[in-house]
Symmetry: C2
């Protein structure tokens, strides 16, 4: 990649991070290009779809959550590991409004640039869940998709209203209690 292209790419990512934290994953692409002092063509050259841009922003976050799940599996009791991970999952999505909707959309679209890292993260969560089930801590009629659906649901609702966001930990706790024996 040419040096000027690399500069523009870096600059776009910096600005995109800022704008997405401010306006969510539905932020205006034009606005991002404008703030990066770059034409629309340049933005689209580097990130042909909105997902491609989000992938660069969120992919690492997903990877880190997947790693975190594995680390917790090694260091904590099954039920507690699951609890901690879910808490971090929900809290971690907070700064990026719309991230939960993006995750669900991504997971259904195998062509999405985010698909792989998102699926890997979901699988890591599933492993934590199964471990807790084998330990007898979690009821057996729950699978990874149930877990993923519920934690995204709670993540989503906590970004809809400040009064609900304040209860994030409580809502997570209520839902997890429903999964626990």
């Amino acid at each position: 990649m040419r040096a000027d292209a690399q500069r523009n790419r870096d600059r776009l990512l910096d600005v995109a991070k800022e704008v997405v934290e401010e306006h969510g994953t539905q932020a205006s692409l034009r606005d991002i290009a404008r703030r990066a002092e770059v034409g629309m063509g340049t933005l689209y050259r580097h990130f042909p779809t909105r997902d491609a841009l989000l992938e660069a922003l969120l992919g690492r976050r997903f990877d880190r959550l997947a790693e975190r799940a594995d680390a917790l599996a090694d260091s904590r009791e099954p039920a507690e590991a699951l609890r901690v991970w879910v808490g971090e999952f929900v809290a971690g999505g907070a700064p990026y409004r719309g991230i939960n909707a993006s995750m669900i959309a991504t997971l259904q679209d195998p062509t999405s640039a985010l698909h792989a890292s998102c699926a890997a993260m979901r699988n890591a969560g599933t492993r934590l869940l199964q471990r807790a089930q084998q330990a007898g801590d979690v009821r057996n009629d729950v699978d990874g998709l149930d877990l993923f659906a519920l934690i995204n649901a709670v993540g989503w609702i906590t970004e809809q209203a400040e009064s609900i966001a304040e209860r994030r930990a409580h809502l997570v706790s209520l839902v997890l209690d429903g999964l626990t024996h």
Copy 2:
């Protein structure tokens, strides 16, 4: 109201119902006007905001859910009444994609045309919850907002993916079990 105005209003509502069921609460207003064979001015004259249009479409639905809560309170055991109502709440929102987001937004904006009927419905749900708590069926560290948040969260997630929608009843059941002793 003049006869022609009434005709246009009725026609707009018919078409809006159709289009919203097809495209969700974020449906294009221009599209609604077009399909109703009416100008944008006419649409905005009758429904000055998107909420005003939704109010006409969804208000009755909310009222009916509120009444339903009261009826269930009279005819069922507290825990079962809550369970049935929550199930109907979540299932009933299914045909209108985006309804859960609209409800949360509406509830935070007292100027919204939908605010009153939405708040009334939430209060009806809260009464069912409190009744179940007094009967000792539901844990006491849950309030009406927790309940409302959770059922909207589940409602929302079930409109995000067909594979999740299939599990609607199961997810509702998991969440309710978390509230139950």
